[in-house]
Amino acid sequence: MIGYALKELRKRNRKYLLNILVIGLVVVLLITLNSLGIAFKEASRLPFENIHSSIIVQRNGNVPENTSGAVTPCSLAPIKSEYLSQINKIDGVKGMSYGLFLWVFDKDSFKRTLGVNWNDDRGKIIGSELIEGSLPQSDTDALAEREYAQQHGLKLDQKVKVSGTDFTISGIVETSGKDVVSSDVYVNLSSAQSLAYNSKNLQDTEKFNRNDINIIFVDADQTKVKEVTDNLKALFSSPTSNGGKTPTGQTTGAYSIYTPESFESQISSLFLMSDRLILTVSLVALIGAVLIVIKSMSHTLMERRKEFGIMKAVGFRSKDIQREVAAETLLQAIIGYSLGVAMSLVAIFALAKTTVSIAIPWEMSPYPHFLTSNPNLIAPVQTYPFPIKFEAVYSAEVLIAVFALSLLTVLVLMRYINGLNAMEVLRYE
């Protein structure tokens, strides 16, 4: 039977080519769409992968009255350190890092300054970007970011003044463009807390306690990100709001909890396909393919009426012919599927050579609008290799769907074969 079916496909290749192409195109559509959907979800996690976190907690605050000394940006208002122990208790939290990010308006220059706990994951990541010198050994040591150091001629062991306090450059790090919260100067967390605590401008804007921080990076179990996020939202659900709004429209006093989903809106809308949209497009494509294949096969069967009449005359039962037609249909499905998988691999290989750009929201990488001539600093764009890959499990599911729909096609065609009378066909053909 298979030999006969193969011969039919070879001899009538033009008639079956349409079916094979339709099946192939639907397979490409299904596999590529699904891979794109998964890839863009993966892409939205990339900014978080770089910081080894799944969730970032911040709090919205007030805009400083003036630009002098150390202040906290309005998206990074102080958070009480007592919250840290409560976060640690949430089921699904694997680890946690935190820091204090400051804007420092000194007379010589503006400096983004990040207070870092060098022993936590966040500190270790920054430390791994050290290209010269060593990590701060005391509260008067600091790391300078490479670009900032170049712009201001800073070298190792030189002094840099941050909010009136002298720091010695103990090392140079290269973090620009690699991080959602990149800074110009990195100091010990306790040093940053002292700068903040002693800043009159900051104390006038926000009440700052000596141990406060203003950014928390939570590393959650990947399978429990949603549950952890929900728990964090519950923990931080009571903002001490004064009813005001930040310049970017956030409610003052309210907490912002960023997850990979926060970046999905940053990705081009062309690729923002929800699971439901992918499912709808896939279903429409599948139904369309089934209708085209059924119509095409019906047409071919009509043309082969005489052939089936001869087969019945020489002793084929209806089920023998059905088996033959089923073998031909399944062979077309296998060839079409193989063609589709091959085309999908080529498409995915080509897409994997592209990149995806993600604009980091200003709130997560704040820079004063009034200080920059470089608009990229306000909404820095990070570019990553597009993380698309061939989804083998999904491809197997598509194969099952193609087989199931081929069998459906055969079932529809069976009625025609059953109703065929050999003598009637041979009498009139």
Binding site: M1, Y4, K7, V314, G315, R317, D320
Partner: protein, 221 residues
């Protein structure tokens, strides 16, 4: 000789036309029977009833003692596969299959091995003088060769009866003669029972027995 087919009171209406009307006949084992009639006389319809290709409206056909008129479509197909070979006027070969495959066609639904199937087909092709054309396709053969392929196909299951419907109707006189000689030799040498439908007086006379039919009614026996 024993009766291989006993048909009684066969009737068949096609549309509004009574194609076969109360026909009764016997076919004996090893007999070469010709059914002769003009175009539209009902001879092809009678042949299709006797061979199990079509079902009667009324009457009874016993084939080696088995009543085939009560069989359903699938049982009739199996019956044809095991007991009869049919040769058509227009050969009715499958254009996408070569000679060997066309001859082997009735064996396709069987579970026999491919080697065994093609060995039988080769043997059948040899018996009709087509051993040198096995890999050719129908459109590469002459009319006479195509009809010989059809005869070989009819022989492959070692049938009890071969039904031939105007087997020379689409051939020139000389080729037609060769086909009738082939059928006669199968009848004489292998003892095959042959029922042949023809409108040709000359061919009809070649048979052991002649039945004439007109307007669906047997006019002599």
């Amino acid at each position: 000789m024993n009766e291989i087919i006993i048909a009684r009171n066969l009737s068949k209406t096609l549309g509004n036309v009574k194609a076969v009307s109360s026909v009764s006949l016997d076919v004996k084992k090893g007999e070469f029977l010709a059914i002769q009639g003009s175009s539209g006389s009902g001879k092809t319809t009678l042949l299709s009833l006797l061979s199990g290709l079509d079902k009667t409206d009324s009457g009874e056909i016993k084939f080696v003692g088995e009543d085939i008129t009560s069989m359903n479509e699938d049982d009739l197909a199996l019956f044809r596969r095991k007991n009869v070979g049919i040769v058509f006027q227009y050969y009715n070969l499958i254009p996408t299959l070569n000679v060997l495959e066309n001859i082997a066609l009735p064996l396709f639904p069987e579970s026999s091995s491919k080697e065994e199937m093609f060995e039988k087909a080769t043997h059948a092709a040899e018996s009709v003088g087509l051993a040198h054309r096995l890999n050719h396709y129908p459109n590469e053969l002459s009319g006479g060769e195509q009809q010989r392929v059809a005869i070989a196909r009819a022989l492959i299951n070692e049938p009890k009866v071969i039904f031939a419907d105007e087997p020379t109707g689409n051939l020139d006189t000389e080729t037609g003669r060769m086909i009738v000689d082939l059928l006669k030799s199968l009848n004489k040498e292998k003892g095959l029972t042959i029922v042949m439908v023809t409108h040709d007086d000359g061919l009809a006379k070649e048979a052991d027995k002649l039945i004439k039919i007109k307007d669906g009614v047997v006019t002599n026996e």
